[in-house]
């Protein structure tokens, strides 16, 4: 049972990690908890179902499954990035120099808006993602990892590594790191901070979209309210690894997934959602800077 729960936890954890990256990147640059990020993930799941359904309807799926799946992921990611950009433009940019509470409240407003927007346009009932992966899988230490689980874990890993390379190796990544260190100083040395922030939102939303599609495939069901809980959990993951730190978010997400799935397996499934909150509160009380950050300098 341990290995089975471990694999389940790893799957869910890599999804949390993908969402957590969006939180941590935005927090690193804007020092803002992007409350609407969970809804972007939910939008991604819906868009995945919508586009895949569209391709099934037009016959592309029966012609080539992998092509339609790839197109679904690309289109959903593009749309989610567009949504992320729009959210930034409308709800955050006008409030960039406002007191800290204002953007947080506007983010909550955006989250409520997006949730109800999807509920009104798509209905309040659950949406179904068709089963496309076979149920078989690898057996390891008496536990089974389905093909879908393997795909989720590997694909997340690839995305995380490429994000890491992007941040470390490219010019834009360098600009992002500079902006995260000091926004004003970065603008003084000629970095277009607005562009950096837009790119941050585009990448974060894109990753959330991929996470959304993978969850839609994994659970098969999607509801307009999934974003809230996933958002909180991903945020917990980001805090767990030290918010603002990208490897921290990856590690935090996987750790949280494991805690949750082992907790559900060994203690109680009913309180599955409460584990994340407890981890969050304990971490914030004991080590608010997260596991990885060495020390949190308190700004006065």
């Amino acid at each position: 049972m341990f290995f089975q729960q471990f694999i389940n936890g790893l799957t869910v954890g890599s999804v949390y990690a993908l969402i957590a990256l969006g939180y941590t990147m935005v927090y690193g640059i804007l020092e803002l908890i992007n409350f609407a990020h969970g809804e972007i993930y939910m939008l991604g799941a819906y868009l995945g179902i919508i586009f895949f359904g569209f391709f099934t309807l037009t016959g592309l799926t029966s012609y080539s499954l992998s092509l339609s799946l790839a197109l679904t992921i690309i289109l959903s990611t593009a749309f989610c990035s567009a949504y992320g950009m729009t959210v930034e433009r409308i709800a955050y940019r006008p409030l960039r120099n406002a007191p800290r509470l204002s953007p947080l409240i506007s983010a909550i407003g955006m989250s409520i808006f997006l949730q109800n927007y999807v509920m009104l346009t798509q209905g309040a009932t659950d949406k179904v993602f068709p089963h496309i992966f076979s149920t078989g899988g690898f057996t390891l230490f008496g536990a089974t990892a389905t093909h879908l689980q393997t795909v989720i874990i590997l694909f997340s890993l690839v995305l995380m590594v490429s994000l890491h390379l992007f941040i470390r190796r490219t010019r834009m990544g360098k600009a992002m790191r500079a902006t995260a260190q000091d926004r004003i100083m970065a603008s003084l040395v000629g970095i277009n901070v607005d562009t950096v922030i837009i790119v941050t939102f585009v990448i974060g939303s894109g990753l959330a979209a991929v996470a959304g599609i993978m969850v839609a495939m994994y659970y098969g069901l999607v509801n307009y309210s999934i974003g809230y809980m996933a958002g909180i959990k991903a945020f917990t993951a980001a805090v767990l690894g030290g918010i603002g730190s990208i490897p921290g978010a990856m590690f935090g997400g996987i750790l949280l997934g494991l805690v949750e799935s082992l907790g559900a397996g060994y203690i109680s499934t009913e309180y599955k959602d409460a584990y994340a909150f407890m981890v969050l509160i304990v971490i914030l009380l004991i080590r608010p800077s997260g596991i990885f950050k060495k020390s949190a300098e308190e700004k006065v």
Binding site: F79, T86, A98, Y117, L120, F277, M278, I281, L285
Partner: protein
């Protein structure tokens, strides 16, 4: 104002056209975003409606600018000519008199809505102490509200205790819960505090939802008794009305008094500048704790009233959205302004009742309203402190 308009007509014209093109592009962008969710036809409709609205807005922009300037002047004057003490007393007395006889005049439905409004006024006044006075964002206020409601429900159904005996317990336990949430507040700041309060609220709701043997789980607790009121029998609704009215008046008076006391001034000082307040000798930790306990006390009171009104409690009434709704009331009226949050509560409870047909769009409008409020009028309708702080950015 006149200079500049005639100077570079050609350039101005060009700019205007460019502007218009941008707006049309924006309309196109939004309809594109809608496209996968609603299909081609609604997206096209949205495009044309948005373009028309944007062009129209541009057309009347000058007019609107004049109007808002007038409005600002008007609200400013409204504040300046505050009523003299005796007149304000008469106004208040007559207002209270109208409220006293309301059950004999109004329909049951209206009275029901008024009772609900009263409960939310108490909640908003309580949250205002924490968010408005002390400047600590509390996203789990519904937890204290739930604790008040469940305490009365359990004491009444399991121990058979009456309303008036349970009331202090409800409020006291809620205050205690507030203090428990505040313990992290002693260590955390800003966003982190908000998240911890949110987590606390969710944990309370999850416990209520899952502890089946004690709280009844998702089914909640029903069959809560109606209180006695000095042996007077005036119908269930009238009774609720008077009890709620009393509680609202009590909350209003006490909160107002405490706001003016040493404690209240300490809260404001913490909100304005925590470091400075600490330097001036305010024990910031202790006063933050007081704010949480004091604010949550009223949530407990409101919770007991809610349990009495509904005669039924379930975890569904105390979700995160409930916390946000109360927060919206405080923000809408004006953070820190006591009449403001009362107006905010009245608007947010009454408006959806009036606009029955658009009920489904209520939460959508609430979300959009929060964003618009933060951008255009962070100080709320009646002017809290939102705008004063714009100039002194913290950090």
């Amino acid at each position: 104002m006149m200079t500049g308009t005639g100077e570079y007509p050609a350039k101005r014209k060009k700019l205007e056209v460019l502007n218009r093109a941008w707006f049309i592009l924006a309309a196109l962008w939004f309809s594109l975003l809608l496209l996968p969710f609603k299909g081609l036809k609604p997206a096209l409709i949205l495009f044309f409606v948005l373009s028309a609205v944007i062009l129209f807005m541009q057309y009347i922009a000058g007019f609107v600018r004049v109007l808002t300037a007038r409005l600002h002047a008007l609200t400013g004057r409204f504040k300046a000519v505050s009523l003299s003490h005796t007149t304000s007393l008469t106004v208040r007395a007559s207002f209270l008199a109208v409220l006293m006889v309301l059950p004999f005049l109004a329909q049951d439905y209206f009275l029901d809505v008024v009772v609900l409004t009263g409960i939310y006024i108490i909640l908003a006044l309580g949250l205002n102490v924490i968010v408005g006075f002390t400047g600590l964002l509390h996203l789990g206020f519904a937890a204290s509200y739930a604790i008040g409601a469940y305490t009365y429900a359990l004491l009444n159904t399991k121990a058979g205790l009456g309303f008036w005996y349970s009331l202090p317990v409800c409020a006291g336990l809620a205050a205690l819960s507030g203090a428990v949430i505040a313990l992290p507040a002693l260590r955390l700041k800003g966003d982190y505090l908000a998240i911890v309060t949110l987590g606390f609220g969710e944990i309370v709701r999850l416990i209520l939802n899952n502890w089946d043997t004690f709280t009844g789980g998702p089914n909640g607790i029903s069959g809560i008794a109606v209180p006695y009121f000095f042996g007077i029998t005036i119908g269930r609704l009238g009774l609720h009305y008077y009890i709620t009215l009393m509680a609202v008046v009590l909350t209003y008076v006490v909160v107002k008094r405490v706001r003016r006391s040493k404690t209240g001034r300490a809260w404001i000082a913490i909100r304005e500048d925590e470091v400075c307040a600490a330097t001036m000798g305010v024990n910031t930790m202790r006063y933050k704790l007081y704010a949480f306990a004091f604010g949550s006390f009223w949530a407990g009171l409101a919770g007991a009233l809610f349990a009495v009104k509904m005669q039924f409690v379930s975890p569904e009434s105390f979700t995160f959205i409930e916390s946000v709704l109360i927060l919206c009331m405080v923000i809408l009226g004006g953070l820190g302004s006591i009449p403001g949050v009362i107006v905010g509560a009245i608007i947010l409870v009454m408006l959806p009742e009036v606009l029955r047909e658009v009920q489904t769009y209520r939460m959508l409008a609430l979300g959009a309203g929060l964003i618009i409020m933060m951008i255009f009028r962070p100080q709320g309708l009646l002017g809290g402190w939102g705008d004063e702080r714009r100039e002194t950015k913290d950090e």
